[in-house]
């Protein structure tokens, strides 16, 4: 036995290190932007316009055109190559767009529109609300489902709750990641981020269920053992599977990350971080929490498993 579960303080510390920057970042973001996370136009409304010219163009020059036309709050940068510029500014109407196209083409020559996205502010706030609702709904449904699936064990809701705690951990780790990437590369939260989060939730719980299922089975098989020992055993037994699955998922995700287009890059990176965190949290967060809860040592300093092992030995003899 590797005493995974006993070392829970170690695992929780690692988790804290992964999560704390995220929380700090959210506070920082709240102070500077007014939102806890850097939001893309999907949630704030605005326009994102990617245009390609026939010669290299400096983003600052492009930005100037927008500023001259009254859009002071404009951000522009190169994407993919120097001929392609992506501009972000407020939400506009089609007639305004025509005015801008004329101005841009007058200065830089023919413009090829690679992509254009303009979202009204009302839609943006609706999407935000729906996104939050989606995460809560998914978590609640999953909690209920696990409680039902594990209804035959002694405290099914503990299983569900431990899984949800692991899931919250994963969300926070992903937020930390986005926070760092925001500071480093200006990444923002868009609708695909939400997609990544919900998928991570789904898979994280998937992992957790595999471990819990093993615990459930081992509880029946090894009745004499303490819960902690059963959990340890289950972790060891499922370890190779968890790693193998992680590797196959990472193989495909990294392939898309590296070879897929720029538009998927942020999505894939977020998924990778989330999935790795998901496996980690299933093994090293959800299980120790469950064990500690079952043993009543969640908030006390009692070393988990010690007294129960003695009891166990007495029963089996």
């Amino acid at each position: 036995m590797f005493n995974y579960v006993e070392r829970r303080r170690l695992w929780f510390t690692i988790s804290a290190i992964a999560i704390l920057p995220g929380i700090i970042f959210m506070i920082y973001s709240l102070a500077t932007n007014g939102t806890i996370l850097p939001l893309s136009i999907d949630y704030t409304g605005g326009t994102l316009w990617e245009m390609r010219f026939q010669q290299p163009v400096a983003p600052t020059d492009v930005r100037q055109i927008f500023v001259d036309n009254g859009y002071a709050d404009t951000v522009a940068f190169n994407v993919e190559n120097d001929q392609t510029v992506q501009v972000k500014f407020k939400n506009i109407d089609i007639s305004e767009k025509t005015v801008l196209i004329d101005a841009l083409e007058a200065k830089f020559g023919p413009l090829e529109e690679r992509s254009y996205r303009s979202i009204g502010p009302s839609i943006g706030s609706e999407v935000s609300r729906a996104a939050l609702l989606a995460v809560i709904m998914a978590s609640a449904l999953i909690l209920l489902y696990i409680a039902w699936a594990f209804r035959q064990v002694s405290h099914p809701f503990r299983y569900g709750t431990s899984a949800v705690i692991a899931l919250v951990h994963d969300v926070l780790v992903t937020v930390t990641f986005i926070g760092i990437m925001n500071l480093v590369a200006g990444w923002e939260i868009d609708a695909l981020f939400l997609t990544a989060i919900l998928t991570v939730i789904g898979f994280s719980v998937n992992d957790t269920i595999v471990v819990f299922d093993r615990i459930r089975e081992n509880l029946k098989r090894h009745r004499g053992e303490s819960f902690a020992m059963v959990a340890d055993r289950s972790l060891v037994e499922t370890f190779q599977r968890s790693v193998a699955t992680q590797i196959t998922a990472l193989l495909v995700l990294v392939a898309i990350l590296v070879l897929g287009g720029a538009s998927l890059r942020q999505f894939m990176a977020t998924m990778i971080v989330g999935l790795v965190s998901g496996t980690y949290s299933s093994l090293f967060n959800a299980t120790p929490i469950l064990v500690a809860w079952e043993e009543g040592s969640l908030f006390s300093r009692k070393k988990s498993g010690s007294s129960d092992v003695a009891k166990g030995k007495a029963v089996a003899a």
């Binding site: 506009i92 690679r114 996205r117 009204g120 695909l192 998928t199 992992d207």
Partner: protein, 482 residues
Amino acid sequence: MMHEWEPSGSKNYRMRNNNTLVLVGIVILFLISLYIVLPIQHPAWMEGALSFGRETPIDLTELKLGLDLQGGTQVLLQADVPEGQELDSGTMDTAKLIVENRVNGMGVSEAVVQKVQGEDRIIVELPGVNNPDQAVETLRSTGQLEFVEPAGVQLAQGMIVNTTNNPNKVEEFQKGVEEGTLEPAPTPYPDQVFETVMTGDILRNALANQDQYGQWQIGFELTNDGSDQFYNYTRDHIGDQLVIVLDGRVLSAPRINGAIRDNGVITGSFTKDEAESLAVQMRYGALPVPLKVVDISTIGASLGHDSVQRSLRAGIIGMIGVLLFMLAIYRLPGLLADIALVFYIVFNLAIYKLLPVTLTLPGIAGFILTVGMAVDAKILIFERMKEELRVGRSIRLAVEAGFSRAWPAIRDGNLSTLISAAVLWWFGGIFGASAVKGFAITLGIGVLLSMFTAVFATRTFMRAFLSTSGQKLLEKRELLGL
């Protein structure tokens, strides 16, 4: 002590027969699916049979690509009702119909017009449109056509005027110009309200065409009542201007040379796009309520094409990686799992063609992801099998035990992923966020198929293989990855 024993002779035989049936069934299903997936023309009877009662038979040649992959525009239109005014449910239906007519009138193939949850929104998808801005303008312009009395002043094309139905047009227009949202246009009569004598109701049809000099114009046909009205008006106003106004902008103001009855032509300096756009608006009538664009997304064809290329490459390389990995770690069972995985991929693609599923870029990512995850179910089964073998069970029983023990975990785990997919699908549906929805669909289909192939394909292969060469394998334990 429990004693492991092999099933007796006849039961063995029956089990093997059942398994062979399933195996044959799966292989046939695979071959059919493979045929469906191939990008070739399929026989008409097949397309008919697989349409399952749809009006138009399904086209099985190509996979359907979403707007972000083939290029196109998606617009979310919302009814622009003034504060406090209620929207009639019939109104949006009419609006949707008119928008649909206009879209069809523009000749956009495979366009989609749908009402969105929330009663006051319409989503329009325009694949492969070259000039999306003009197209959107055509769709959402109110399209209110009026014939007005010039009341003694000279009016010309391009002027903005107030009309009976639009008495504050000039004021609104000037505000727009100040804000920079509208391009300036002449407004020589800002305080005058011109009387509307006839509206677009009198039109039966309108078509854009060119005259003998190549100038674009709009030919129109009048209804029976319209004919009478028009005839009377033109007869009484010979020598005056016939001022035609669309949404407050003077379209044309030709001089009336004689009484006109059934049809006529609107001339002016129109480009081809303008003439066609106007003809479409006039043809289908005015929108009952103004529509504003609250969300518009255009992906250029070049970007779409790039995305397809790249994701294809990424997907193929990723999948090959997974196949090799399975082979390396699990040896022979890994090979069988790889075959099952190939079946899995083909089944997925066949379903995409049959439903049909419109693939978006995140949808493709979702599919590739499920390939990576579909392996999970097989890994669970194999790990169980190896355990059983280590304990000393016979191969045949180890296979069965592996499946039955692993199944609860597979089922419960995949269901939680399905919950996520369902929530995502709901979320994407509200805003017509086809990207999110596309991902949810491929994820959901992938998870369901993964469970199916784990139970049917992998197990069947293992059983079939073992019944033929099981004993030999037990000796060569390395082949099993033990």
